[in-house]
């Protein structure tokens, strides 16, 4: 059963993509999502993101949280929209368009605030970016076996000890999330509730949760330490086993993607391509 935010081993073109190529593609898309503000450019990334999500068969229920995130981010977007009434802020969108203002208030030294088409276009891009970050991140998590990343890093000069720490963290993070859910259930069965309007009460109520989680985490750390000691994990010579090297074609594909990214960044810096 694919759990929320966990990799699922299924046979899709995205799952089967060479990790080096996949990492290059998704990292490039995420970077451009951060850099581009022009809705026309972002539309290209949305098409790529949706295609990847559909091809990877990311469960739709993962996106249930999207509404909550967008809503939570909405105040920031609204403040941004209200603050962008000055048409001169926009260098690419037609001035005739961004100048259209629906309401404006002048607050002296604090500047002018209101709703303009320019601000709305910025706001739309801002909320869209959140959707896109989710699209790319979900695709990556759902379709990428962490072993592949470990394998890639293991193939480089990345310190194996550090790699092991990352591996252990990855191995136990989902476990810890599940643990928190179980402890919260156990607490509720004693009459506990986290919800309160008083932040002080919320903090007080998290104490037993943290205390129980901490106690169990310490036990887990002890046991993992014993397990690594039994299997003589130390600084001595270690054989790199089962690390898959990317083929020439994979390296070529990754290079091509990074070259396109470089081109896009150059376009943005030199010609404002993607800017608003």
């Amino acid at each position: 059963m694919p759990k929320w935010l966990e990799y699922n081993r299924i046979d899709t073109p995205v799952h089967n993509m060479q990790p080096l190529v996949k990492i290059s593609l998704i990292a490039s898309c995420l970077l451009l999502t951060g850099l581009w503000w022009d809705l026309r450019y972002l539309a290209i990334l949305i098409v790529i993101g949706l295609t990847l999500v559909l091809l990877a068969k990311v469960p739709l229920y993962w996106f249930k949280i999207l509404g909550v995130i967008l809503l939570a981010y909405l105040p920031v977007t609204i403040i941004g929209i209200l603050g962008q009434t000055n048409p001169l802020l926009f260098k690419v969108y037609p001035q005739s368009l961004v100048r259209i203002t629906f309401a404006i208030v002048h607050l002296g030294v604090l500047g002018s605030y209101g709703v303009s088409v320019g601000g709305l276009l910025w706001g739309a891009a801002s909320e869209l970016k959140i959707c896109m970050i989710l699209l790319f991140t979900y695709t990556f998590i759902y379709s990428t076996d962490f072993n592949d990343i470990i394998g890639l890093l293991g193939n480089t000069r990345f310190p194996r000890q550090l790699l092991f720490v990352i591996m252990i963290a990855y191995r136990f993070v989902p476990e810890t999330i599940r643990q928190i859910q179980v402890i919260m259930t156990a607490l509720r069965l004693r009459g506990w509730e986290l919800r309160s309007r008083n932040p002080k009460v919320i903090v007080e109520r998290t104490v037993p949760l943290i205390s129980s989680l901490l106690r169990q985490s310490l036990v887990t750390i002890d046991e993992v330490t014993l397990a690594t000691r039994i299997r003589v994990f130390s600084n001595q010579k270690i054989t790199a086993f089962n690390y898959v090297k990317p083929s020439r074609l994979d390296k070529g594909m990754a290079f091509l993607i990074i070259a396109l990214l470089a081109l896009a960044i150059a376009g943005l810096v030199l010609f404002n391509a993607g800017n608003i």
Binding site: G191, E223, I238, F241
Partner: protein
């Protein structure tokens, strides 16, 4: 020369007060033998295994006296690398020992650390996977494996290091019947190949393991109490003094020794049947054994304690955990819920306490007249509550008294009555002697009892217990059974026990519900359910050992629903004594 030798060895844990974990141990472990270490909780079994594996006092802080010789060498002179080639330790919790993200990586982890070349690693991995029957699962994530497979993988991890001694700490204690069979078959293979294996056991799974042992050592309060051939140890009256239970077969044959010329204590059901078969031929057996009377749910003066209708639950995207479950439990019943891991038992129980909601609108769940699907959580927990398998999930405070008062404080109980009520519960559950102890220092079985006591402060009418006897030895399990029965009798508490321990269920429950694949496939009075081995086999469940023996003899007219050694003995002893 012994592979491992303890010479006047003692060990005291850091901060331990009142005695030593191990005291003056003198033991030799010879090559090619399978040795069992038996003892109650706190007897020193795990410490012995950790000392043998070089983990105590290096990773387990404490003070050691005396010496351990590994292949004649003082263990203190061995570096971890050399140690790992001599003794490999499998700990009791497989989940925290699996460090790789695939089965292949996990097994290769140890050999890689030994700096072997890739070809050697591959050979060792292949060998370990073959012995543990994990071939074909190389690419799977260890987290996705069943409990039995995870424990097999933990064994494979150590086998790949090729140690000369394999030491396992309670390797089957956390597994269901199928998982136990899987791990026991590995132990059998290792025993047949004359590997050197040391296994600890608290007693509850002794009967499934004893036939593979060449030698059995009993520890008591850190000292060697008995040491000998397994069946000789089982026959030793000293076991009664320290309260370490025997297998049901040993219990029966010890009784028969007293009234007949039978001297042998058989190690397997088949051998027991061979011994008894000629002696019972031609006998007529009484059928007047005690059969529990089950109050008809909702048919009497009161409504049922639990009434579930058409309960379905689907985990996204398409896992049917429950497929239309109908269950009715009368007030005051003690019901056992059995089935393989993943059969839906825990999912069903989590619905009863309102933690999970059905995924079909037609479902109905009523507990003591309260519609759980519409009720507030605060109201539900006063009617029904749940004790988790791992007590650490349910303990949130620093001391026992804080823990016992916590639920009452959250329920806005009268402040003046909170302390007296907690003190009463502490006394009732015999926790008073631990009141001063730090929560972390409590033995696991005490934590389980504390978790149950903390929930009982809320006085629920129905209590759900998930694998309550997992960490308990036979003495504590017997105490626990008596406690539940007395609570049931004095307060009318309805109890639902989820467990893989059939002996416990046979002694405790009036009725059993068997689940497979999200459905109830069999239910009825305990005796009648255990008398249907074919149906139980479909659910991958085995009846208690003594019931299995009765069923082997049933062709000769022997009742196939005997639940305890006492019952068995009472049926045959007048004739066998002749």
């Amino acid at each position: 020369m012994a592979l491992v030798e303890f010479k006047n060895y003692s060990f005291t844990h850091l901060g331990q007060v009142g005695g030593k974990a191990l005291s003056n141990i003198n033991l030799k472990f010879e090559e090619g033998t399978t040795v069992g270490i038996l003892g109650n909780a706190g007897a020193g079994k795990s410490t012995l295994i950790k000392a043998m594996g070089g983990l105590a006092p290096v990773e387990v802080p404490g003070f050691a006296e005396g010496e351990i010789l590994i292949d004649g060498k003082d263990s203190r002179t061995l570096d971890p690398m050399s140690y790992s080639r001599m003794v490999g330790v499998v700990l009791d919790n497989p989940a925290t020992q699996l460090l790789g993200l695939t089965v292949l990586d996990d097994v290769a982890f140890g050999p890689s650390n030994l700096g072997l070349d890739v070809k050697d690693i591959r050979e060792r991995v292949d060998f370990a996977l073959k012995v543990t029957r994990l071939k074909g699962m190389e690419a799977r994530n260890p987290e996705e494996l069943s409990g039995g497979q995870q424990q097999s993988l933990a064994i494979a991890d150590i086998l790949a290091m090729r140690p000369r001694v394999l030491a396992m700490d309670e390797p089957v204690s956390m597994l269901d019947a199928e998982g136990k069979d899987r791990v026991l078959s590995i132990i059998r293979t290792l025993a047949e190949e004359k590997s050197t294996v040391v296994i600890t056991e608290s007693g509850l799974d002794l009967e499934s393991m004893i036939k593979y042992l060449d030698r059995l050592i009993v520890l008591n309060k850190g000292e060697v109490f008995l040491d000998g051939k397994p069946m000789d140890v089982m026959a030793d009256m000293g076991l009664d003094k320290i309260g370490v239970g025997r297998t049901q077969l040993a219990e029966l044959f010890m009784k028969l020794r007293g009234v007949s010329e039978i001297r042998e204590i058989p190690e397997s059901i088949e051998r027991a049947a061979e011994i008894l078969s000629p002696r019972i031929s031609g006998m007529r057996f009484s059928n007047n054994r005690e059969v529990a009377t089950i109050p008809p749910p909702g048919d009497g003066a009161s409504s049922p304690a639990v009434n579930v209708k058409n309960l379905q639950h689907m985990f996204p995207p398409d896992v049917h955990a429950l497929r239309g479950v109908d269950v009715s439990i009368a007030r005051g019943e003690i019901v056992g819920l059995i089935g393989q891991n993943g059969s839906g038992k825990t999912t069903l129980c989590l619905h009863l306490v309102g933690v999970l909601k059905p995924t079909n609108p037609e479902a109905s769940i009523v507990v003591c007249d309260l519609n759980v699907l519409k009720a507030r959580f605060h109201d539900i927990i006063k009617k029904i509550n749940y004790v988790f398998q791992n007590p650490d999930n349910q303990l949130f405070q620093e001391t026992i008294m804080h823990e016992l008062t916590y639920g009452l404080r959250l329920q806005n109980f009268d402040p003046e009555l909170i302390i007296p009520e907690a003190a009463r519960v502490s006394k009732e559950f015999e926790l008073d002697s631990y009141v001063q102890d730090d929560m972390d220092a409590l033995p696991r079985e005490v934590k389980t009892i504390l978790a149950m006591a903390s929930v009982m402060t809320l006085k629920p009418s129905v209590l759900v217990l998930d694998e309550p006897a997992n960490a308990m030895d036979r003495i504590r399990a017997a105490w626990f059974i008596d406690k539940l029965k007395s609570l049931n009798k004095s307060t009318g508490l309805t109890v639902i026990v989820v467990s893989h321990n059939m002996e416990l269920l046979a002694k405790l429950c009036t009725r059993l519900i068997v689940m497979t694949d999200g459905k109830v496939v069999l239910e009825g009075e305990t005796r009648k359910v255990f008398a249907q081995p074919e149906k139980l086999a479909e659910a991958k469940v085995k009846p208690p050992q003594i019931t299995q023996l009765a069923q082997l003899l049933s062709k000769q007219g022997f009742p196939n629903d005997v639940l305890t050694a006492d019952e068995f003995f009472n049926l045959i002893h007048p004739e066998v004594a002749k």
